[in-house]
């Protein structure tokens, strides 16, 4: 138990970094995903094509590769302008990556809304923005909530990838602790921390799903 106390500090320091990457990614990529999903559903062909290309690249390559590309590839290829602190590079990469997934999730949710609802909205003489805010958005959020919860859990675990670009997150500090002390207890403590974080997410989403249950 005392050994756990000794290493806990180091691991919790890493957890702060893990949570920073997680929170920034989540807060930016969900609104961005929603916005771009709306754009993709409009009749603008060019924007649709561009977004298709974007999702194709991002979903078709490993996040780790994208991370290395942003942190090391960009400054080597295009000079100092692209040189940024690793943590910023990591957050930007994660936002770009997760936005691509959220676009597809939201788009699917929006497309699942029946046509006659749009017709009803126009009969009620709701404007386009009113239709979106009062008819489309609430149902989209309700429908996509389980998928978003899934992505959010994946995101927590994906943050471990940042340890590969010299960022001291929970994963990196755990590995360091094991290598330094030649003891494996840190693995267990890290697993517990990740489990607590993912459980908190599951709990929050469950609560929210219940709140939104009145649509059914």
């Amino acid at each position: 138990m005392t050994y756990f106390g000794l290493i806990a500090n180091n691991l919790l320091e890493g957890t702060k970094v893990t949570l920073t990457v997680f929170a920034l990614t989540w807060v930016f990529s969900i609104p961005l995903g929603l916005l771009l999903a709306m754009l993709k559903n409009t009749n603008l062909k060019l924007i649709g094509r561009l977004l298709d290309f974007y999702t194709w690249i991002i979903r078709g390559t490993p996040l780790l590769l994208q991370l290395f590309f942003v942190v090391y590839g960009l400054p080597i290829l295009f000079g100092e302008f692209f040189l940024m602190p690793e943590i910023l590079g990591a957050v930007i990469t994660f936002i770009i990556n997760y936005t691509a997934y959220f676009i597809e999730i939201f788009r699917g949710g929006m497309n699942a809304i029946a046509k006659n609802q749009y017709e009803a909205a126009s009969v009620l003489s709701l404007s386009k923005s009113q239709t979106f805010i009062y008819v489309v958005l609430p149902q989209t959020i309700k429908k996509t909530l389980p998928s978003i919860a899934n992505e959010t859990i994946t995101l927590i675990k994906d943050t471990a990838l940042v340890s590969a670009v010299a960022i001291s997150d929970l994963m990196r500090n755990t590995k360091d602790t094991v290598a330094r002390d030649f003891r494996v207890e840190a693995y267990f403590l890290a697993a517990i921390i990740y489990l607590v974080l993912t459980y908190a997410i599951v709990y929050l989403f469950k609560k929210n799903e219940k709140k939104k249950a009145f649509y059914r």
Partner: protein, 261 residues
């Protein structure tokens, strides 16, 4: 009840198996299984992967030694941070990859006699004019995580107080990539790696004039594998006397860097 009986049997079987193993010496264990697994990571020119195959000075040396010992050499790419765990779990039989002999590591591994001299040096872009420890003031430096460069840097108060940050990478090659990208201003690394990998194959880097520390390489065996360690030292001595090793050193480094007491 039957489940319990099966469980008891399994436990007994395991205990007796473990018992059998412990009655064999470490050398007999290797000779019996007829393979010797060397753990290595990406650390040219000592050990690295080329075209999917492990090669390098240490790997070729290990091959020559195992041929004499009469067992097959297997190589296993390991996570350098997990080298002691790899040894303990018997996934590998030795870490043989430019492994620096340190007092801390002696508590966790049994070492062969030292076979190589190596210094820790500063490498930076030539244009940055970083040559001495004093030049590192306010700079970002990179090291391979848990390497001897990492350990020596952490102990050096002058460096630690002066630098902006010490960033840690999975391999020396990744630290050099970060240097190229500008994420760090200098990298502290083994001279052998710097001289025979970086300076040979790329331009624009130079080695500083001040040495951070000096160290010796040895083969790391499981703690307590004294018989195995002694036998392999014997074979290395023989190979050095008949000139095999000198030839190998010249092939990789241009000079004979091998040391024998």
């Amino acid at each position: 009840m039957r489940k319990l009986a099966v469980l008891v049997l399994m436990v007994l079987a395991t205990v007796s198996l473990v018992g059998c193993q412990s009655s064999k010496t470490d050398l007999e264990y290797i000779l019996d299984k007829e393979t010797f697994v060397v753990g290595f990571t990406d650390f040219p020119p000592m050990g690295y992967t080329e075209n999917g195959k492990a090669t390098g000075f240490d790997i070729e040396l290990a091959e020559a030694v195992m041929e004499k010992l009469g067992v097959k050499l297997e190589t296993r790419y390991i996570d350098w941070d997990a080298k002691v765990l790899e040894l303990k779990s018997k996934k590998i039989d030795a870490v043989w990859n430019g492994l620096t002999i340190t007092e801390e590591r002696k508590l966790e591994m049994t070492f062969s006699n030292p076979y190589f001299d190596n210094n820790l040096i500063i490498i930076a872009k030539t244009t940055s004019n970083i040559n001495t420890i004093a030049d590192l003031e306010g700079k970002n430096i990179g090291v391979e995580n848990q390497s001897s460069a990492d350990i020596a840097t952490a102990k050096n108060q002058v460096i630690m107080n002066g630098v902006e940050a010490v960033k840690k990478y999975n391999t020396s090659a990744e630290a050099m990539l970060a240097l190229n990208a500008g994420q760090v201003d200098a990298v502290i690394v083994d001279e052998i790696y710097a001289r025979y990998k970086v300076l040979k194959e790329t331009e624009g880097y130079s080695i500083g004039t001040e040495i951070i520390g000096s160290e010796q390489y040895g083969v790391g065996f499981r703690l307590g594998d004294e018989k195995l360690s002694a036998r392999i030292d014997e074979i290395i001595d023989e190979l050095y006397e008949d000139g095999t090793i000198t030839e190998l050193s010249i092939k990789y480094f241009g000079v004979d860097l091998f040391v024998r007491d």
